[in-house]
């Protein structure tokens, strides 16, 4: 039960007897966000340094080193291929190389997402001495987990670039969509990571929630299969997952060379893709990034008291 203001005697100064000084007013949301951005911009070197630290730690004492960056998405892709083989066997339809390529691309994107949020969620609690003893904008810690994962994933993506031509995937003009899609993915991931990291400081449940998302979220996201594989309702469901349109968009732009502003409707009249889905995902990504940054800013000064 929360006591009301009436239950609690007002505090007075022990020395002068004067009532307590006014509490600092909370600045409006946009002003807070702006201050947060300026703070972060002033500490960009720290972001770079922490990213370097995390990369070094990840690879220097691992026997396979940088190979891990390739291996993780590769295993995700292999799992996807297994499932796809099963599905095609049941459907009696042959497998085409572009389908496998699509899975590989989405596997890389998915590894980025899971890697960033799982490292990011723990970033504050793992750096306890820093959080309680030294000042810097705390958002740097979860964000450095995201940037570290970006470098990591870039290595995996580079390996993918070598393989894609083997599946006869050429260069399309629609590749121009890829930077936008990746930006949405990074924004969405950053927003979620900020929220999860802050949440984990106060409630360790956050860690478990994120574990569930990273291990089972893949079944609710079109990674191993295309959104259209589940009928009209299933398609809508998969594309309402904010990551759905991003992943499908990547596949369409890179593998199919499909312009993303043009909708795709199958023979039964199910909308497999439309620009509206992309807009929907963009709204989510930007909204979540804003909300995450604001929430983080508003709680970051109590981290040192709670951890």
């Amino acid at each position: 039960m929360t006591p009301t203001a009436l239950d609690v005697p007002e505090s007075r100064s022990p020395t002068t007897g004067a009532p307590m000084a006014p509490r600092p007013a909370r600045p409006p949301a946009l002003q807070d966000l702006w201050a947060s951005m300026r703070d972060l911009a002033g500490h960009h070197e720290l972001l770079v340094e922490l990213t370097k630290r995390d990369l070094r730690i990840r690879y220097t004492q691992a026997a396979m080193g940088v190979l891990w960056a390739v291996l993780t998405p590769l295993v995700v892709a292999l799992s996807g291929w297994m499932i796809r083989f099963g599905m095609s066997y049941l459907a009696g339809a042959p497998i085409r190389a572009p389908e496998l390529a699509g899975i590989a691309i989405k596997a890389v994107a998915w590894s980025f997402f899971t890697g960033a949020i799982s490292f990011g969620t723990l970033s504050l609690t793992a750096n306890l001495p820093l959080v309680t003893k030294v000042y810097f904008p705390r958002a740097i810690l979860p964000l450095s987990a995201v940037t570290t994962q970006m470098v990591d994933t870039a290595i995996g993506a580079a390996a993918l670039l070598v393989v894609l031509p083997l599946a006869h995937i050429g260069v399309h003009r629609t590749l121009l969509w890829v930077p936008l899609l990746l930006a949405l993915l990074v924004l969405f991931t950053s927003g979620l990571t900020l929220i999860a990291a802050a949440g984990n400081v106060f409630y360790r449940d956050a860690k478990h929630v994120i574990q569930l998302v990273t291990s089972f979220g893949i079944f609710f996201t079109p990674v191993f299969f295309d959104a259209g594989a589940f009928g009209p309702r299933g398609t809508r469901f998969l594309l309402l997952n904010p990551l759905g349109p991003v992943f499908e968009g990547l596949r369409l732009a890179i593998v199919d060379g499909h312009p993303l502003l043009v909708p795709i409707v199958n023979a039964e009249g199910t909308v497999l893709w439309s620009a509206a889905y992309l807009g929907y995902a963009a709204l989510w990504a930007v909204g979540l990034a804003f909300f995450g940054a604001l929430l983080f800013r508003r709680v970051e000064f109590s981290f040192a008291e709670y951890v």
Partner: protein, 401 residues
């Protein structure tokens, strides 16, 4: 722009124990915390306490403020507010200028990274631009004395090396505002001296400084003013001397002169001087009262000198050891002269009534303190008045005098 440190009527509330526990309470609380304005009621809820109450001070360039007080007095909380790690519950905290914090100077080290990598990492965490670290890299390494171990992972460092590297980085900040918390005891004696020298240099720049330390002699040396904090409140504001006196009297009072009945009681202690040079004599006078009965015979009045910084007893004597017998019923005065052959520092002079028969302290008497200054240079605890000569050439083969 010159630096400035200012706390204006600052309050800080903490909770005992954990805040919330489960996710069911978590999400609403988190959202509330993020979106709602802080609740306006100014009092304490159950499970909360004030870590700081109505604390105000201003430190301008050229001033150095020492914060002293027992554990839990709010010293470190005040520093955390100044660093920006926490925000006050009420009141205003202003720090203008680039902050240099000599606090937990090795907090950012990663054990798997080498000394070199950690210098960059820790330096950046402390707010040094990379270019500046590169510029000062050699100086930092030189200061730490760890040049041969630069490519060794920090996990193989001893804790002393760890602290030295951390301090060396922090010591090369160029702060406009300096905050120091208990970093004076790093490494071995030689490094401590070097570190203290560097801190003195930093403090003597024309910048505002706040120092938190239990090393009271450091506060006397470094600070121009001091605050004695107790349970989050200002108990006394004044010169370092005044605050240290009040603090040490508080410390000794806290142990209590023992309320039990005793045939012999010590009423007062008086020191001839507040400060002496190392090696000089210090007059001590104890006044007391005895009932002169047979029980008083087995009691001894003792004087104990302790180093305030560590609490270590450096000297103790009593009427028994001195071959003095307490007089018959009535008041008495015990006059002693102690030659302070000790290193500089602050020393507590305590009195006690000792039960010779049972070999235990019966009563704790009043106490005072004295500051021992400079004197001839030596290191360690005790002045051994060395008599030395230096021989040269072939005459060295020989004997110890």
């Amino acid at each position: 722009m010159s630096g400035l440190i200012e706390l204006e009527r600052v309050w800080k509330k903490f909770r005992y124990g954990e805040g919330h526990g489960r996710l069911r309470d978590a999400i609403p609380a988190l959202v509330r915390r993020a979106l709602r304005r802080p609740d306006p009621d100014a009092g304490l809820h159950r499970g909360e306490f004030w870590a700081l109450q109505d604390l105000s001070f201003t430190v301008r360039p050229g001033q150095a403020l020492g914060l002293i007080g027992p554990n839990g007095a709010g010293k470190s909380t005040a520093l955390k507010l100044l660093c920006g790690i926490m925000r006050p519950t009420a009141g205003r905290c202003t720090v203008r200028g680039r902050v240099g914090a000599l606090i937990e100077v090795a907090a950012g080290f990663h054990p798997d990274l080498t000394g070199r990598e950690n210098i960059y990492l820790q330096g950046t965490i402390m707010g040094m631009p990379r270019r500046e670290i590169t510029g000062k890299f050699d100086e930092i390494v030189d200061f730490s004395g760890l040049a041969p171990f630069l490519e060794t992972p920090v996990k193989r460092y001893s804790s002393g090396m760890h602290a030295r590297l951390g301090f060396a980085i922090a010591a090369h900040l160029e702060p406009e505002v300096l905050l120091i918390d208990e970093v004076l005891a790093v490494g071995d004696a030689a490094f401590q001296e070097k570190a203290f020298g560097r801190i003195t240099e930093l403090v003597q720049q024309d910048i505002p400084v706040v120092v938190v330390s239990h090393q009271l002699d450091a506060i006397t040396t470094l600070c121009t003013r001091a605050l004695l904090l107790d349970q989050g409140q200002v108990a006394l504001a004044g010169t370092p001397q005044e605050c240290i006196t009040a603090y040490l009297h508080g410390v000794t009072a806290a142990h209590g002169p023992g309320s039990g009945d005793s045939p012999v009681r010590i009423l007062g202690i008086h020191l001839g001087r507040a400060a002496v040079e190392s090696g000089q004599r210090l007059g001590v006078e104890l006044t007391g009262v005895t009932d002169g009965g047979p029980a008083a015979d087995r009691l001894s009045v003792r004087v104990r000198v302790r180093l305030a910084q560590t609490g270590e007893t450096v000297f103790e004597t009593g009427t028994t050891q001195l071959g003095l017998a307490l007089p018959g019923a009535g008041e008495f005065a015990l006059q002693l002269e102690l030659q302070m052959n000790v290193a500089r520092g602050i020393y507590l002079v305590e009195s006690a009534v000792w039960d010779r028969l049972h070999g235990r302290q019966l009563l704790r008497g009043p106490s005072s303190y004295v500051e021992v200054r400079g004197g001839p240079p030596f290191e360690g605890l005790v002045q051994m008045h060395p008599r030395a000569r230096l021989l040269s050439g072939s005459s060295t083969a020989g004997h110890v005098p």
